[in-house]
Symmetry: C2
């Protein structure tokens, strides 16, 4: 396994070799309906078009590619609310490794089915991600397996490849808005954007019903907050130290959007792009709408990080 301190843009460039063995770049599209709505030139980065429907799979591939044969054959253990787990399950299958994934008890059933469909051993444990994580990390230690933290540096480097695609496709991008769960995506974007052109503004966004990462970033120290969002992709209760450190170094701003604003953004994304966004996937659009005045005349990219919304939630949101 490659040794990392905080990842650099060179590490992300290196990750491309692994990522593009299995995946192809995702589209970056401009939709006139969204431009009218936000009042500026808005582009959508379609991470929902990847296998497993979310950006995380880039990280899973890079991590598995960087593990040693011994680490891979010891089996992987991780916890997830869904997309990270699907990513590890997908990558483990490609590399013929075993994956054990702990998920919170009331997890998105479609995401759980998808993990199982990819051959992972899925175990329900605990009320939320952090509870599942503690439990499975102990289990990995007992069984001598490899525990994957959702903010492992090689995951950050893998997911950072989408940020390289953004600046290559749209070199004059001025603002990138990215949702934050554990922060790997936001870190990838920060590292790339600030290395390529420090004037690119990077804004992170999270649900106001799960503000721990935002509060910790603003306070400059870990703050635990209540967590009660429908958007499991950004449902973090305990902040992650390494992604906080990177975000403190690079991030321009970090905003909160209400769950109701996220639901409205899901409807608008469907209406204007015909793409299904899960809660986390609509957070960047919700933030863009909230920051409308500030984004005026700025060429803006919003990251549609994932599309794995359950039909049940969709029905409720459209009703």
């Amino acid at each position: 396994m490659k040794e990392y301190s905080d990842p650099t843009v060179q590490d992300i460039v290196s990750a491309q070799t692994h990522v593009y063995r299995f995946l192809q770049p995702t589209p970056l599209y401009r939709y006139s309906g969204l431009c009218d709505l936000v009042g500026t030139d808005v582009w959508v980065k379609h991470e929902n078009h990847l296998p497993v429907g979310a950006f995380k799979v880039r990280g899973g591939i890079n991590l598995l590619a960087e593990l040693t044969t011994e680490q891979r054959s010891a089996g992987l253990f991780t916890a997830s609310t869904g997309n990270h787990g699907q990513s590890i399950a997908y990558a483990a299958r490609e590399f013929r490794a075993r994956a054990t994934i702990a998920v919170p008890e009331r997890s998105n059933p479609g995401k759980v089915a998808a993990m199982r469909g990819l051959g992972a051993n899925v175990i329900f444990h605990g009320a939320d991600f952090d509870a599942a994580r503690q439990w499975v990390s102990a289990r990995a230690a007992e069984e001598g397996g490899y525990f994957v933290s959702p903010t492992d540096e090689s995951l950050i480097c893998g997911v950072g490849t989408y940020a390289l695609e953004i600046v290559e496709t749209l070199p004059d991008v001025e603002t990138i808005i990215v949702p934050v769960g554990a922060g790997s995506g936001a870190c990838g974007v920060c590292i790339v954007a600030k290395s390529v052109n420090p004037r690119i503004e990077v804004i992170a966004a999270q649900s106001a019903q799960a503000p721990t990462m935002q509060l910790s970033w603003a306070a400059g120290k870990p703050v635990t907050a209540s967590m009660d969002t429908f958007a499991e992709g950004v449902a973090t209760r305990v902040p992650f130290e390494n992604t906080q450190r990177i975000m403190r170094k690079y991030l321009d701003d970090f905003v909160l959007v209400d769950d109701e604003e996220i639901k409205s953004a899901i409807r608008q994304m469907l209406e204007h792009t015909h793409n299904l966004a899960e809660g986390a996937g609509a957070v960047a659009l919700a933030a863009a709408l909230k920051l409308k005045d500030r984004l005026s005349q700025r060429k803006t990219v919003i990251v549609l990080s994932g599309g794995n919304l359950s039909s049940e939630k969709l029905r409720t949101i459209l009703a």
Copy 2:
């Protein structure tokens, strides 16, 4: 403009040069949920991931690339229920040509807005596609513009590039199911599949509430039928002669699926792939479910031709 008799696989291979200047190949993904549902190995060809959300854009690009400068600067005229018009509007913008598009009076508002957003001059005329087509074709003649038939050979060659992608990605594909509106997609698939490996079975599908293309194919002569489907992408009332000729030569079967089966397939596509399919885009899945027994143990590709379903229709279908 290149002269065509019926297009060959070589013509489609040549179209790749034009198409990939503007577009990238679309993914072909296997979803375990759909495999369980259909009872065989099912792959989805994601033409909904293209700009404008439908396969047609490949044809528009190829057509504009093949026109002479004089033809382009005379302006393009066409009729459309939506996706063909978006394709021509998109390609016209890329090639800096003017596009006038006649649409039936009660057209999908999102598709109309998208055409206008791409800079096309959209005119509402007539109750259905065929009425709009007659009118705009006369107008093109008056104004000396270039009239684009939705089954123009260079459109068939452009859209056929997705069929090349299918056989390249999944060389052991055994059955491909493709929806039929005017038939350009089905022709592209037939020509490619039968040239590459005649044992690949190609099955076309259309709505039972708009069966003219199926009835004409089965009868071996033009049959006009009533047309009353919600799925505007397959809402053909008058059959197209050139695509009928190609389909008669190559197609293995042509099935009809009821509008209610199409709506159910839209729900299943959302549930298992988290992709929004418009009616036409769900026709192939509806057909696969209907042909379940026959597809058993056959590696099957279904073409998700487009995703431009209006939010209003989606809400009704989910309710």
